[in-house]
Amino acid sequence: MTIQPQDSKTALYQWHVDHAGRMVDFAGWQMPIQYASIIEEHHATRQSATLFDVSHMGRFFFSGGQVEEFLDRMMTRKITGMPQGGIRYSLVCREDGGILDDVLVYRLGTVEGNDQFSMVVNASNREKLWTWFHSQVAGLDVAITDQTEGTAMIAVQGPRALEIVNGPLGFDLSSMKYFSGRHARFHDIPLTVSRTGYTGEDGCELVVTNEFAARVWEELLLNEAVSAAGLGARDTLRLESGMPLYGHELTEEINPWQTSMRFAMSLKDRDFVGKEAVLTAMSDESLPVRVGLVLEGRRAARQDAEVFLGEKLVGCVTSGTFSPTLQQPIAMAYLPREIVAGNNELVVDIRGKKIPAKLVDLPFYKRK
């Protein structure tokens, strides 16, 4: 079975095209990078609320008597004992610790003794994870289905996001914990809602069958506080919020320990694929770790820009942009721990020019 999409279109594709969305290929999906301006869409998210079509993200459904134990072995984060409606961010590793993806795991509930979980994975890793999980599941009572194509996923993000979605849902989303989800109705339309997102703002994400996607999207946009935003703004927003992106900060060559996301690993009293490699990495001082950099001037350091301490090459930028909120260039990079500890003056080579940079704590931006 191959599930790698080519020229796939989300249920909202026509809306994007009709509203001047600049469509680009993203992991085989035609997605809007922006409508008018990335900076304006970015500010709209920080100041009010925006909608993102994130239907390209992969959505898997797991059912069976041994799903909990299976996922607990697959995930760096503890899955056993998750409450119904709970959601956890986790990494998925190979035995050698190489990161295969970062995902959200949702515990839906138990139906007739069968655990039911769903998972949102990166679009670019959907086929890889599908193959990986099937290679690991042999002999266990676990059925995996891919629900990506039949559903749409809409992220509503920003300080006003919840108030906007509360009306159609008929209940107050702020009564739900962040990182939890439930079934709900948007007027008469059945969907799932979760308090999750990838912008650093408050908000929620809705998963709805394709046939209702445009109705939900368009009704939300009737509210003047809401506008649409593309994947360009999503990237600048997640970068300001210090969130890693697969293919940049997370790759098969990076060990979870190096990501500086201690919260994404549950190491006590459990085993998971890649745990030994994580424990080994913990005591390996030579491994570079993920850090934040703020650069002088207005030029952004992009992926693969080299970072120097004096004349010595010490690491590489994994992603960077000009931060619309902070009005300065920000970047994430992997650097050796002794350099991070030393509060050193660094420079980044941006197309032949050495630009001074200083180490800062992540995230660059935190909502009040």
Partner: protein
């Protein structure tokens, strides 16, 4: 200066040619179409006064939130003036790409470099195809 009187490179730079004291002086900028395609400009690097620029070669760069783009010279010439207001207020490019948004002035050193450029109508047609 009117965009209808300008010459255009395929890479979306424009040149306006004037005769000044027997020299051909080119004012160079980027088209409204280019500005609209780039969006969200945050940085521009200008060439140095006195530097030689060459038709089809990079003379500077412009950076948006999402990417860096090279600026290519539409002519062969020597830079005699640059618009120093521009890098700190790139919104000028959105407001007036064919006037206040000019990038540099250069003395044309080889007239034959002008013959590769398109007129306004031809360039508009190209933009229709690119857009």
């Amino acid at each position: 200066m009117k965009p209808e009187e300008f010459l255009y490179a395929e890479s979306h730079e424009w040149a306006f040619i004037e005769e000044v004291n027997g020299d051909k002086i080119a004012t160079v900028g980027i088209s409204a179409f280019a500005v609209e395609q780039l969006t969200d400009l945050v940085f521009m690097e200008l060439p140095e006064i006195g530097s030689m620029i060459e038709s089809g070669s990079e003379f500077g760069e412009v950076e948006s939130v999402k990417a860096v783009s090279s600026l290519y010279s539409p002519i062969d010439g020597e830079v005699i003036q640059v618009n120093t207001d521009l890098p700190d207020s790139l919104e000028i490019l959105n407001e007036d790409p064919y006037g206040a948004g000019w990038i540099l002035k250069a003395k044309v050193t080889d007239d034959s470099s002008l013959s590769k450029l398109a007129d306004y109508t031809t360039y508009q047609k190209q933009c229709g195809e690119d857009g």
